[in-house]
């Protein structure tokens, strides 16, 4: 029995407007994979393939149209403390200080703890994420990188069964990103956490992951393949650049993405829906594609 099982999950939305009103729109279908305890699995794919929707289903924010997600033997039906999400938009409470943002999570996870114990536990994770000195600052006065450190500290402090990272570094500048990625790996090692991450960034995926799941383009997106990252840890950015495995893996993934993220073992699926439907769904691939590594 695997630790986390995404079991034949599909997601369809009703088309609310336009000529195809009343029909349904399939974002992705029959997504099926497992994550082992302590594993770092990353999902990569173009915008509109539904990877964030899948993450929301795993978090319990959204319901699958078919299939289900089973975490440690339990079917996921609603959000809970056994899964913590790190949001692209940070989702920190702007009225709380750094310390309070983490403490409110610790207190929720351990309502029976004494105030002192909650305080010590909070401080431990604040220090682990190198946030010492910024405890009393409100999020508005922190840089993007610092804000996401708070987001990570909050998520790790709860000690969830699985961490769900939704493009956590997309809003952080490239120089800061490297430092926080390294801290994430350090925290992942120290806490023996299980991580599922969604990203656009191929380098980030290779640097951090044990395995990388590749999604075909939506609509009707499918899980094309899962590649193993057999690069020994600890990995450093510098060593990676010259590593043979890295270069091969990177070009494999980039070819997949540039080719249009089609499944190799089956003919390209027929397009049932016009481009207009995708616009109705709020697809913003044109703006997000600019962030793709060339």
């Amino acid at each position: 029995m695997s630790f986390l099982k995404v079991d034949h999950v599909s997601k369809t939305f009703p088309v609310l407007d336009g000529p195809d009103k009343g029909q349904t729109f399939t974002v992705f279908k029959e997504v099926n994979f497992e994550i082992q305890q302590g594993e770092f699995l990353t999902m990569i794919g173009h915008s509109g393939c539904g990877k964030s929707t899948l993450l929301n289903i795993m978090a319990g924010f959204d319901e699958p149209s078919n299939g289900g997600v089973i975490l440690d033997g339990n079917l996921i039906t609603k959000p809970g403390l056994d899964r913590m999400v790190v949001f692209q938009s940070f989702a920190l409470m702007p009225w709380l200080s750094t310390f309070e943002n983490v403490r409110v999570a610790v207190k929720s996870a351990h309502p029976d703890w004494s105030p002192d114990r909650i305080k010590d536990w909070t401080q431990k994770y604040i220090d682990m994420m190198s946030l010492g000195g910024a405890e009393s600052k409100k999020p508005a006065f922190l840089s993007g990188g610092m804000r996401q450190r708070v987001g990570l500290a909050r998520a790790f402090a709860v000690e969830p069964k699985i961490l769900l990272l939704d493009e956590p570094f997309a809003q952080i500048d490239a120089l800061t990103r490297g430092a926080i990625q390294e801290e994430l790996v350090r925290m992942w090692n120290a806490t023996k956490s299980t991580v599922f991450m969604v990203t656009h960034d191929v380098d980030e995926a290779i640097l951090l992951s044990d395995r990388i799941a590749l999604m075909t383009n939506g609509p009707d997106a499918e899980l094309a393949e899962i590649v193993e990252v057999n690069i020994p840890r600890p990995r450093s950015r510098e060593e990676l650049i010259d590593s043979k495995e890295y270069v091969e893996l990177r070009s494999h993934i980039l070819h997949f993405l540039v080719r249009g993220a089609k499944r190799q073992d089956s003919p390209p699926s027929e397009m049932h829906f016009s481009k207009k439907d995708m616009e109705v769904k709020g697809d913003n691939s044109s703006s997000e594609e600019k962030r793709q590594p060339a």
Partner: protein, 299 residues
């Protein structure tokens, strides 16, 4: 920054300009309200006697006619208003009979009336706003009523309120209540319904209960919108309390203005206007200090 540095770097320009404007205002006021000395040339003995009989003029020690200083003509000048202020402040807490209370008491009556009406309305409005802000259907269903009730002047309710409660004291409080209600309801509902969904997602991940979610997430998230609503309500209630007192004859600073008019004491009317302004500024300052505690920089 040390206090000395603060004092040194403070820009005194606006302060001097303010004082300058005030001085100019006083001088212009004084100039426009200056009364000429009484000139008796061209008036017959009979006319003078009639004027003296009416109390318009009196004879001074030297036997010359002058205007009666106790019978004011025209708008009083700043000196007269200053004298009136001085005499009122001297008797700030006196009480003579049922209606002649010192200005200290009158301010207190108004502030008390205002505070009860405003606080009661604010609590009611925030609770109502949160309930309909969290329920989209209820929001859409109640919105037409709120939009219709919002522009009604709170004074328009007064006859109905007076008829219903049969008591001017409570009617005045209810007028303040009606004035403070709708802006807070509308803003709270808007703030709650438009808060970022991320906050609610975090709350649900942390498995917060209903009340913990309400007090730790929903109310703080909507706090800036709630405070903005309270601020509009505050101004509207402050505007409503003065005419409510005038019309209902309830002791207070609005009443002071009206009673001085009935006494034909125009200096007293001007003094009452100044008191209304000062009380408004002090209450508004107190409000913004409290508001500062619950607002935060947006991310």
């Amino acid at each position: 920054m040390s206090l000395v540095d603060k004092i040194k770097s403070f820009d005194y320009g606006p302060v001097f300009m303010s004082l300058g404007f005030f001085l100019v205002f006083i001088l212009v006021w004084h100039g426009l309200t200056q009364q000429p000395d009484f000139d008796s040339t061209g008036l017959s003995e009979n006319e003078l006697m009639t004027m003296e009989f009416n109390g318009d003029i009196i004879q001074d020690d030297a036997g010359n006619y002058i205007y009666n200083p106790d019978k004011p003509i025209g708008i009083p000048g700043p000196a007269k208003v200053f004298d009136k202020t001085k005499s009122e402040l001297k008797e700030i807490f006196h009480k003579k009979g049922t209606n002649d209370h010192g200005i200290g008491h009158l301010v207190w009556y108004t502030v008390k009336r205002f505070a009860i009406g405003f606080l009661a309305a604010s609590i009611f409005a925030v609770v109502l706003g949160v309930i309909i802000g969290l329920n989209k259907k209820l929001f859409l269903a109640l919105n037409p009523f709120i939009q219709t009730l919002k522009p009604i002047s709170p004074l328009a309710w007064m006859p109905l309120l007076l008829y219903s409660v049969q008591d001017p004291t409570w009617t005045a409080i209810l007028v303040v209540f009606m004035a403070s209600l709708w802006p807070t309801v509308a803003n709270t509902a808007f703030g709650v319904s438009t808060m970022r969904k991320d906050y609610l997602r975090v709350a649900s991940l942390l498995e917060m209960g209903y009340f913990r979610r309400l007090f730790k997430v929903v109310l703080p998230a909507a706090a800036p919108a709630i405070v903005a609503g309270l601020r509009i309500s505050f101004g509207s209630a402050l505007v409503a309390v003065v005419p409510a007192e005038m019309l209902l004859g309830e002791l207070g600073i609005g009443y002071l203005s009206w009673i001085e008019w009935n006494n034909l004491d125009i200096s007293g009317v001007i003094f009452a206007i100044i008191v209304v302004g000062v009380v408004g500024v002090v209450l508004d300052y107190a409000f913004s200090r409290v508001a500062k505690l619950v607002t935060y920089p947006e991310m």
